[in-house]
Amino acid sequence: MDFYFGLIQIIGVHTLLGLSAYCVLLTGQVSLAQAGFFAIGAYVAGMLTVIAQWPLVPALGVSALVAGATACAVGFPALRVKGLMLVVATVAFGEAVRLFFFNFTYQVQAGNIRLGPHGGEGFRQIRYFPENGWTTLDVMLFIWAVVALVMAGLWWLNRSRAGAVLRAVGEDELAAQSTGINITAVKISAMTVGGVIAGIGGGIFAHYTTHIEHVQFGVVLATFAIAYPILGGLSNVFGTLLAVIFIQGFLIEGLRFMGDWRNLLFGGLIVLAMNVRPRGLLDAGAMLALKRLFFSRKERSDA
């Protein structure tokens, strides 16, 4: 049973990572910096609970703030460039964060062991959950409570005017400017919200794995972050969730019996999916069709 709980935890955390990229993608920007914000969240939250002995929730709050502030600061120079340049700039930022933690050591003596991040060896012993007697089930429920909260917030945002404005900027910046939208402010806000979500996700990640190190936050994680919303489709937050379940649950765990072949299938399926459904699994057309399906049923049952 613990295996499934563990899997569900992974899905939850990766959903947060995917949603953080989702916010930015809505404005048409491809950011590969999300793994960097995720790493910042992980290290900040870990250091607060381990070294400063804070409880988890305020630690997560601070990690969200720090990651969000970083995202906002990065947004100003980075969002001046577009397309390929932005991809490269954000990759470089993500790598710079990773390399920073690769070289970052800050340890304190606790009893007979030393605690805290230790350069290339990483940050071990983030043992908040076991120390406070949380079971795997508790952790899982906590993670999903956060995921549900974030998803509900984004879902609501999506239906609001703010969501429509984000999409308008994503679709045609020139037209958006000409209808009076301040596109710089919109993009930086999206980046900041994305950073906050990635920060929370990273903070949780640090605590359930108990051991983080720089290699976990590389380019691969950054590409996963954008892969989820792109594969799932940008019309809806549930697309991202669907893609995380598909990738983490089905491709990575479900196909374990295939051994080596699983990894081959993984890349191949992504290529195939993009060829067949370039706008993602749940695109706007699919959502509208679903909506019609429901509404026409309702009308029929009313009659």
Binding site: V87, A96, G267, G268, I270, V271, M274
Partner: protein
Amino acid sequence: MDLLDLIDAVQSVADGVLFGATYALLGIGFTLIFGVMHKLNLSYAAASIGAAYASLLILAGIEAPAIFVFLMAAVAGGVIGGLVYLIAFKFIPLANPLATLMSTVGLLLLIDEIIVHSTAGVPLNYPALFSDVIIPMGPFNLRGDLIFVFALGCVCMVVLLLLLYRTKLGLATRAVSQQPIASELCGISITHVNVLTFVLTGVVGGIAGAMTGAAIGMLSPLLSLPLTVKGLIVTVIGGLGSIPGAIIAGLVVGGLENFFQFFRGVSERDLYIMLLLFAFLIFRPGGIFPTTAGRD
């Protein structure tokens, strides 16, 4: 710092500049594809490494001279380049840049995994040319294999520049990259130009992959991600769309990499390269040679 350290430092930077020729070639590849398609091909460096692997595979069991391996890498690169276009670009509508980006990411993972799968993840030795030659120059020693890699890179660049600026194919390529619709109206088939660009950049990539293998002495799928990142950085620092820029940036990044490695250690090395990129993005976002944006 005494004199011996200085000599070592200069030596190491010189080695880096020579190796930088591979970065330059990859940068050119990224720039050319972006110029013609206005799309990012993230699988490019992985495909280049894949081509180098394929050259080993083709020549497995045959005692062939190393130069032949390089030739095969170029051929394999071309074939893989064509395949990449077919798989990750051909059938995805132009209006969906995110989808092509993602499909090239998928392809990157796929190529890496094919390599891991067929070699069980064990790095393979790659033949080097003139590795036993050492040219002493005063207090410095120039490694024969690196000189060969550098020379090969230079030949590649010259041939590529001649191809782009002295042939009809090059003219068509440049036309498509500047005004796709107008070129099509002039009777240039965009699809043909796209395929040719991918094959051409594939050949260049194959050679770059072989050069990497020869310079390091081995091949590993772990090379493809760092090469992707370095190639992209070179593209941006050089100025998107500028081939001379990519060449200079490639050599500079190669040299600086070893410079920082020498003075700050291998773990901090790349951090400074990233900072260099940020400096460019903030102070000179157009790169060394900014291309003037055309009107549409």
